[in-house]
């Protein structure tokens, strides 16, 4: 399955880019499982993922929510506007 992650804030320099695409043999069922795959593939992101919100369009998902069918997640680290 194709997974893609759209990155923001400090995730971008950690990952070296704004987007990460991965291919997995086993399709992750939940957001948590997809993030586990990401943590394995991108160790630099791993320590930050716990504090990130996982988003589909404008909906913040729970870790237990099913992974969106398109395999795409937006990852939002802690926010600091204003």
């Amino acid at each position: 399955m194709n997974l893609s992650f759209e990155l923001y804030g400090e995730l971008i320099p950690l990952a070296g880019g704004e987007r990460i695409s991965l291919v997995t043999e086993m399709a992750p069922a939940t957001v948590a499982e997809a993030l586990s795959v990401l943590a394995d593939q991108c160790p630099a992101l791993q320590p930050r993922l716990d504090q990130c919100a996982a988003v589909r369009d404008t909906d913040i998902l729970l870790r237990s929510d099913p992974l969106p069918e398109n395999g795409h997640l937006v990852l939002l680290p802690p926010v600091a506007g204003g």
């Binding site: 716990d50 404008t58 680290p77 802690p78």
Partner: protein
Amino acid sequence: MTDSSNRIHLTEYPIAIDELLALDRYPECGGLALFAGTVRDHHQGLPVESLRYTAYAPLAEKRIAEIEQQARERFGLSYCRVMHRLGALRIGDVAIVCVARAAHRAEAFEACRYLVDEVKHQAPIWKEEFYTDGSSAYVQGCCIRPDSRSGDQHHAHTDSHPDHHRVPHCDGDHS
């Protein structure tokens, strides 16, 4: 990145404060409170030279619109408006403007404070600071993950207005 055509709370251009006041409307209002966040030349002891704000615009627009709506209802506002600047900012530039207009000043002040706090704590916007020594860093922020293991931080904080709004504990909120 996303289409910027429908952005009414985010802008990459200098914020024109006067236009956000809506002074030619709302004759029932007697109180207008405004907050403007400006780029400081220091942060936690480090000399700052410039900033860069980025956002996940679709959700930032939605969250700010929701926060405005909550403020209108909670404080009985006739009008409120938040505008956040994105992109490269220099010292003294206006990063955020919040305006609240109500019949009386108490509600206007409380609502304006609410708008600033909520947007800072909830809108997916990030601040990268560039220091005078050439280094840079993202400012520590507020976790917006609803099911965070440390998510009880969203409920542990009690302030002097517990019925008005909760302000989640937020390591990055030094401004």
